[in-house]
């Protein structure tokens, strides 16, 4: 491993270590929040692989999150699947729906891609409402306690839940880092930077983008499934447009095309909203204002700016 590689992996492992230690110095309330942030960060990391690295600005990732959530939650609910198989089903569900979405939506690009993904996600949300007797609609359903155990650990209790969230986050982060440093990661960036030039180097842009979107779907599926299992709730509200905007916001905030940006963005937004709660309940306003401010004044996000100005080696 080269010097830069060592430095990069050390940084990422250090973050994992800090997060691991957090369960000992954070209050249970904040530790649970951190677990939630880590799960949402997994979702955002997947979004980042599609948007930040491959340049696919999707407005339909809520569909993939919900796919994972329901693919894990429904078997748990209907057939009493335990956490392990439910998790795997969720990841597969996210990837599968992403692949189908990609086969259709990737025939378009740019603005059309945004609208098409938005429309498919909306259709998915409405479908969840239509089958409300099974899906629970907007009210959703609680995942039974028996399905929330893994290897004898009760994932509805604080410590195992935190560790499970951290594990999923760490795996997601590691895979994401390895991916963007691999030849395929280089190809994703090439497609983002100049699709036509990439084609003339022998790449089929469609298959590269489809692969990136599918991987992104695996992440979204993992996050959805983890949310269902760790926090015990499944509902159609996770398929609404808000949950397509959130990962975009996190990624823009933390820095699109940086491995640590999604987590940082999720953390900062969470803290921002938490801090503002004392002043106003208008969370949505903060989200909206943050979106406008970021796109206007800091389109590279926090880590994107840091990389540009100071730390060129940041992945």
């Amino acid at each position: 491993m080269t010097g830069a590689g060592l430095k990069i992996w050390t940084l990422h492992l250090a973050l994992i270590a800090v997060l691991f230690s957090a369960q000992y110095w954070l209050s249970p309330y904040h530790a649970t929040n951190l677990a939630r942030i880590m799960v949402l960060a997994v979702f955002a990391m997947g979004y980042n692989l599609a948007f930040g690295y491959t340049g696919l600005l999707s407005l339909g990732h809520a569909l993939l999150l919900a796919a994972g959530m329901y693919a894990a939650g429904l078997p748990a609910q209907l057939w009493g699947w335990s956490a392990g198989p439910a998790m795997i089903a969720g990841i597969a569900g996210g990837g599968l729906i992403a692949a189908v979405l990609g086969l259709l939506a990737l025939r378009t690009a740019g603005v059309s891609f945004m609208i098409v993904t938005l429309m498919f996600a909306q259709a998915g949300y409405l479908t969840l409402l239509y089958f409300a007797p099974v899906t629970g609609g907007d009210d959703g359903f609680a995942v039974a306690a028996t399905s929330r155990t893994l290897l004898g650990f009760d994932l509805s209790t604080d410590a195992p839940r935190f560790l499970a969230a951290l594990t999923i986050f760490a795996v997601g982060l590691g895979v994401s880092l390895a991916l963007v440093r691999s030849p395929f990661g280089r190809t994703m960036v090439a497609i983002r930077e100049n699709e036509e030039r990439s084609r003339m180097l022998g790449y089929n842009p469609f298959t590269v983008k489809l692969a990136a979107l599918t991987i992104s779907g695996l992440y979204a599926g993992a996050a959805g499934a983890a949310y269902a299992i760790l926090f015990g709730y499944v509902g159609a509200s996770f398929a609404t447009i808000q949950y397509s905007i959130l990962p975009m916001l996190y990624v823009l905030m933390g820095g699109a095309g940086t491995t640590l940006g999604p987590f940082l963005g999720a953390l900062v937004m969470f803290v921002l909203i938490e801090a503002a709660t004392g002043i106003t309940t208008a969370h949505q306003f903060i989200v909206g204002a943050a979106l406008v401010a970021l796109i206007l004044f800091a389109p590279k996000g926090i880590l994107g700016t840091v990389r540009e100005r100071w730390l060129r080696w940041l992945p």
């Binding site: 280089r186 960036v189 090439a190 930077e193 036509e196 180097l201 089929n204």
Partner: protein, 239 residues
């Protein structure tokens, strides 16, 4: 020079692409033999760039056929043609400006999927004389170096046919000399098709020349034959 009876590397028959009323490429029959340096010349708007776009697959023809060896590639997508050995370097330098020099060339190398990615990338860079600049962002290179990088990307694809679209445009005289030496070193392993406006370069490098005007082939021959051709002189060289 290769015998005219063997199968050409590239053969087009009746290749046609019209844009509305503009006959950019109008029934072109063209043969490119393995191992030659073939120059494509003609006045501006003669259809040279459109013609090589058809060869490389960036555009699809309305009529006619293209064969690579014995294989019909008329409808083959551009990226598959690249994998079959047709590499195209852009007229306007089109490197990835925000990626490093290494990454630019590695992208070309890895699309063929070899194991020794780093070594092959460095070899391609060394071939054009860009060794030592691997870690630089491509946009920080001088214009001449960016053209060399573009060339390295083409070479890294290990092509059977390398299409160079106006490669010497904007280069200094000394850089042009280096470029000529480099292109000569490519044949006969790689066949070169060159669009070029600089007649000195064309006459010096090319083993054969095809002249296009108004989307049609006006003449094909050795540099001496083209120089002596009355209609070429009238249509192009004399003008």
């Amino acid at each position: 020079m290769a015998s005219l009876t063997e199968t050409p590397l590239i053969e087009t028959n009746g290749l046609t692409l019209h844009f509305g009323g503009l006959k950019a490429v109008d029934g072109v029959d063209f043969r490119l033999h393995a191992g030659e340096i073939h120059a494509l010349i003609g006045p501006n708007g003669a259809g040279k760039t459109t013609f090589v776009s058809l060869l490389s697959g960036r555009r699809l023809p309305q009529a006619g056929t293209i064969a690579l060896g014995k294989e019909d590639i008329t409808r083959l997508p551009a990226h598959e043609r690249v994998r079959k050995g047709i590499a195209y370097t852009f007229q306007i330098t089109s490197v990835f400006p925000r990626l490093t020099v290494f990454d630019n060339v590695a992208l070309a190398v890895q699309s063929l999927g070899p194991r020794d990615l780093a070594a092959r990338t460095r070899a391609a860079l060394a071939r054009v004389g860009l060794e030592g600049l691997e870690a630089q962002e491509a946009q920080t290179l001088s214009y001449g170096h960016q053209r060399l990088l573009e060339l390295a990307m083409g070479l890294a694809l290990n092509p059977r046919l390398l299409i160079l679209d106006e490669p010497t445009q904007g280069l200094a005289a000394s850089e042009i000399d280096d470029f000529k030496t480099l292109v000569r070193s490519l044949v006969p392993a790689t066949t070169v098709l060159l669009i070029e406006h600089n007649m000195d370069v064309v006459m010096d490098l090319a083993t054969r020349i095809t002249v296009l005007t108004f989307g049609r082939v006006l003449a094909t021959g050795t540099p001496a034959e083209i120089r002596a051709n009355a209609s070429v002189q009238e249509a192009y060289l004399g003008a």
